[in-house]
């Protein structure tokens, strides 16, 4: 993998961070708020554990800088698209990217000139945890990449499609107005804007985007580890707690629906940002203080901008805890008990009563049914990630936390119970919230383990036990990765794509980019669109009508009928393409020959590449009898035709 791409992928995090800090410096004159400075002075004499937590105070601002910087990038995009373009007629890409990079340049200067005083003093204390986290993330990612040269995150193709379109100047706050891959507005544009900024102005060649996503996924895993470590550190205020919490964060793979650790996605990024911001809130609440107004505002605004559902809930939780802390400061008699119990009871009752009335066949074309799980299934998913460990350590952790009687444990309990209640409800997609809940599940498991180990006097024996625990989680990770990858074996690798996909994508990118509509089965065109940027017929979210037409054309039509059917298919957003291409792969035939229910469903896919069979070849020969098809590329897996 190219190191240059690795550095460029880092920009996803660095660009907003640099801009955000510069804005704070410009607005407040110094990088830390005055309240924190006062608190630090007060805490300086306290020995909480090894050192004191105020050593992380400056770093607690980092997620807020990142959030503010992201909002700035979004604001520039909105101004470029909705003010400058309509008024001055200058294309989005000609305004947005230069403006953002100008902001980065100016911000860098300001950051360098006003480099934080005593930064090394703060950072050097983090060298040991950073090395430990880096090592664990490296091992975990190495195990994950074993025999998997391409990202195994199926959703990345659609997010890359949108980021690529943004780089070309196609921006809208509503994703459905940019690409028909997004049938409805399920994603806000923040994630894609940051990706587009980081990739600008590189040529988005297939191999480059693959590498970019491999690198950025590793950075994401690192941030998951940092968020987990920090949460453990701030709640329990012990280095061992931070270490174990970070280890669980990195090594536990929630292999159903949420995929927090290995998959860099809008929802997983929102979850990590929430935890990092929440740590700051918890740190302040734990000391009976209030969070600065700008931090609360940034958190509440930015989290839903990464993911409406996950970020929206995260913002609500953040605001709820913040308001609760402010109220409690003003009215000490406000209790945590009543809201906690009522939230849990209410969620479970509402979930039980109403989930049965949701028509799963209607919701998101049946996909909702696929993402609705019974309690037994949910239990199975939990065991894939944690074994039986969660059944003992989680309750133990709750018991130990209840005995602590401090606000950090209290608030953490509130969140844990709230998330559990949501997860237990029978609504579709609730398991997606595990991307938030996992941080608290891990935290309370660590509280449980450390609760038992607190009776151990010897410090090195405690660390030995912790290392033993990490070793066993590592075993679970390998078994879980085996479970997850087993269905994607193709030519000695676990993969969703083949080298042929990359070759076709290169041809598409170089020769068939503008005014072209690519038509194939949902899986093939989803992959090719993500890799090449060539517009497809809705990617994996092809409409039901188009699925019916294409499915019939692939298996049951004469050559001219096939061409006629292809000619009749039109992109929902960009009808009247100058040129139409058809990619017929072995996947296409498996999809077309599947039961109608599967063929029309969003949940069904042909996950791994396949080669042509004799029958597939027979069908290709029939199709090729048409005089209106020109063969552009041919391999054992896919044939690409141009409709004349």
């Amino acid at each position: 993998m190219s190191w240059l791409t690795g550095l460029q992928a880092m920009l996803v995090y660095l660009v907003p961070l640099v801009i955000g800090r510069a804005v704070v410096l410009a607005l407040f004159g110094r990088p830390i708020d005055s309240l924190a400075a006062k608190v630090r002075a007060k805490l300086a004499g306290l020995k909480w554990f090894v050192g004191n937590e105020s050593k992380y105070q400056g770093l607690l601002l980092v997620p807020y800088y990142f959030g503010l910087g992201s909002l700035m990038v979004l604001a520039v995009a909105m101004v470029s698209q909705y003010l400058i373009y309509p008024w001055l007629g200058i294309g989005f890409e000609r305004v947005f990217f230069p403006l953002v990079w100008l902001m980065v340049f100016v911000s860098l200067l300001e950051n360098l000139i006003r480099w934080p005083r005593g930064w090394w003093g703060q950072l050097k204390k983090l060298v040991a945890p950073a090395l430990a986290l880096g090592l664990m993330a490296g091992v975990a990612y190495g195990l994950w990449l074993y025999k998997s040269p391409y990202p195994l995150n199926w959703d990345w193709y659609q997010h890359q499609t949108l980021a690529g379109l943004i780089q070309e100047g196609n921006f809208s706050f509503l994703a459905s107005e940019v690409s028909d891959t997004f049938g409805f507005n399920s994603y806000p544009p923040m994630f894609h804007l940051l990706t587009a900024v980081a990739q600008y102005p590189r040529e988005l060649a297939p191999n480059y985007v693959i590498e970019f996503w491999q690198w950025v996924s590793f950075y994401h895993l690192l941030t998951v580890g940092v968020a987990s470590w920090w949460l453990g550190q701030v709640v329990m205020r012990k280095p061992l707690a931070g270490f174990l919490s970070g280890a669980l964060g990195v090594l536990v793979f929630d292999s159903a629906v949420s995929f927090t650790s290995f998959f860099w996605l809008p929802q997983t990024m929102a979850a990590v940002l929430f935890v990092l911001m929440f740590v700051g809130l918890l740190s302040v609440v734990g000391r009976g203080r209030r969070l600065s107004w700008w931090k609360t505002s940034v958190a509440v605004m930015i989290l839903p901008m990464f993911h409406y559902l996950i970020g929206g809930l995260a913002a609500l939780v953040f605001l709820g805890v913040d308001v609760f802390a402010r109220l409690r400061k003003k009215f000490p008699e406000v209790s945590v008990g009543l809201p906690l119990v009522s939230v849990v009871v209410l969620t479970v009752v509402v979930g039980a009563l109403f989930s049965g009335h949701v028509d799963l066949n209607e919701l998101n074309r049946g996909e909702a049914g696929f993402y609705t799980f019974s309690l037994v299934e949910k239990q199975g998913f939990l065991e894939h990630a944690y074994g039986y460990g969660a059944y003992l350590w989680l309750p133990l952790g709750i018991v130990f936390a209840l005995t602590k009687k401090d606000r950090r444990h209290e608030v953490s309990l509130l969140l844990l119970f709230g998330f559990i209640a949501v997860l237990l409800s029978g609504f579709p997609y609730v398991l997606k919230f595990f991307t938030l809940a996992r941080f608290w599940v891990n935290l309370f498991m660590v509280i449980g383990v450390l609760g038992v180990l607190s009776y151990v006097k010897s410090k090195w024996l405690k660390w030995m036990a912790a290392l033993g625990v990490v070793g066993m989680i590592l075993v679970m990770l390998v078994v879980n990765a085996n479970f997850w990858k087993a269905g994607a074996l193709y030519q000695g690798e676990y993969s969703h794509i083949s080298k042929d996909d990359i070759e076709v994508a290169e041809i598409l990118r170089e020769n068939y980019k503008d005014g072209v509509l690519l038509i194939s089965d949902p899986a093939t065109q989803f992959i090719l669109e993500g890799l090449s940027g060539t517009n497809s017929l809705g990617g994996a979210y092809m409409s039901i009508e188009d699925r019916k037409v294409l499915g019939k054309a692939l298996v049951d039509s004469g050559p001219e009928e096939f061409v006629k059917a292809i000619e009749g298919l039109e992109d929902l957003l960009l009808p009247g393409a100058d040129e139409k291409l058809v990619a017929v792969s072995a996947r296409s035939f498996v999809w077309a020959r599947a039961d109608e229910k599967d063929r029309l469903s969003f949940a069904f896919s042909v996950w791994s590449p396949l080669n042509f069979s004799v029958n597939d070849l027979k069908r290709l020969k029939e199709i090729e009898k048409s005089n209106n098809l020109e063969k552009i590329y041919e391999s054992l897996y896919v044939v690409l035709y141009r409709v004349k």
């Binding site: 074994g387 059944y391 024996l461 074996l489 080669n611 069979s613």
Partner: protein, 273 residues
């Protein structure tokens, strides 16, 4: 003394944490099927009734090697199957797939790194039958071993390889077709695999194959499967009941009787440019 007691208490607690954690490990969800070895275009894995070659991700035939079909020849000259249908239905047997969890967890870890080839072991009263594979590239050598509790007279034994009704079966050397195949199929097989099959006037019904090797292509899935018998073995093809039988007349009165054969799955040949 007090410090020693504290150390003992510490060790007990640490051990308790590790044991509980190890106990928790038993709950980890195992992969649905493992190990899975890639043999050319096909995958080889163990199922409840034996080893099978198949293709994941599409409707695929299952080419099985099973104790339900395989046999040994008794002292009296009868063929005795290793597991009867009645025993299978009544579940009067055990397999390695239902082994204890710690061993399966270990196997899942080793299998992830490709260090474990598929194996199927069936145990019933008095006998154990092992199907072991050794996979290398696009070839797999399958060895069947019968392990009796007591020394038993074995007057030969056999393994069977059942195939699909739609398969095109042919001689891998002369390329003469044993089954039925259309001209178009023959032409497409040549294009896809570079094999120019020779149609035969009559469909071969049943009989011994002197060259001890047979190949088959399923038109719905890619790949050519070639089954080869070993030295001193005989191969019989039955097109009515669709199986290949490899037998050995080797006699034994030991506890172990072994038979092995090679299974070669050709990769899709060439590249259509």
């Amino acid at each position: 003394m007090r410090r020693f007691l504290v150390l003992i208490k510490d060790l007990v607690l640490v051990l308790a944490v590790l044991l509980i954690m190890a106990g928790g490990l038993f709950g980890v969800g195992l992969p649905f099927r493992f190990p899975i070895a890639e043999v050319g275009e096909y995958q080889l894995a163990a199922f409840d009734s034996g080893l099978a070659l198949y293709q994941f991700g599409r409707r695929s035939p299952f080419y099985s090697m099973s104790p339900l079909n395989d046999f040994y020849v008794t002292e009296e000259g009868y063929r005795a199957t290793h597991l009867s249908n009645e025993e299978f239905e009544a579940k009067e047997f055990e397999t390695n797939l239902s082994r204890n969890k710690p061993l399966r967890i270990y196997e899942a870890v080793v299998a992830y790194f490709g260090k474990l080839d598929p194996k199927y072991v069936v145990t019933k009263e008095g006998v154990e039958v092992w199907y072991e594979s050794e996979v290398s590239g696009n070839e797999a050598e399958i060895t069947k071993t019968i392990k009796f509790d007591e020394p038993t007279v074995v007057n030969g034994q056999g393994v069977t390889f059942s195939y699909d009704p739609g398969d095109i079966v042919f001689d891998p050397v002369s390329l003469r077709i044993y089954s039925s195949a259309t001209r178009e199929e023959i032409r497409l097989i040549e294009e896809l695999y570079g094999l120019k099959l020779v149609p035969s006037g009559n469909v071969f019904v049943s009989g011994k194959l002197s060259q001890k090797a047979v190949s088959l292509v399923n038109p719905s899935v890619p790949g050519v499967i070639t089954v080869k018998a070993g030295l001193g073995q005989e191969m019989l093809l039955d097109n009515r009941f669709r199986f290949v039988e490899i037998t050995t007349g080797e006699k034994s009165i030991k506890k172990n009787a072994r038979i092995s054969f090679r299974l070669m799955v050709a990769e899709t040949l060439g590249r259509r440019e």
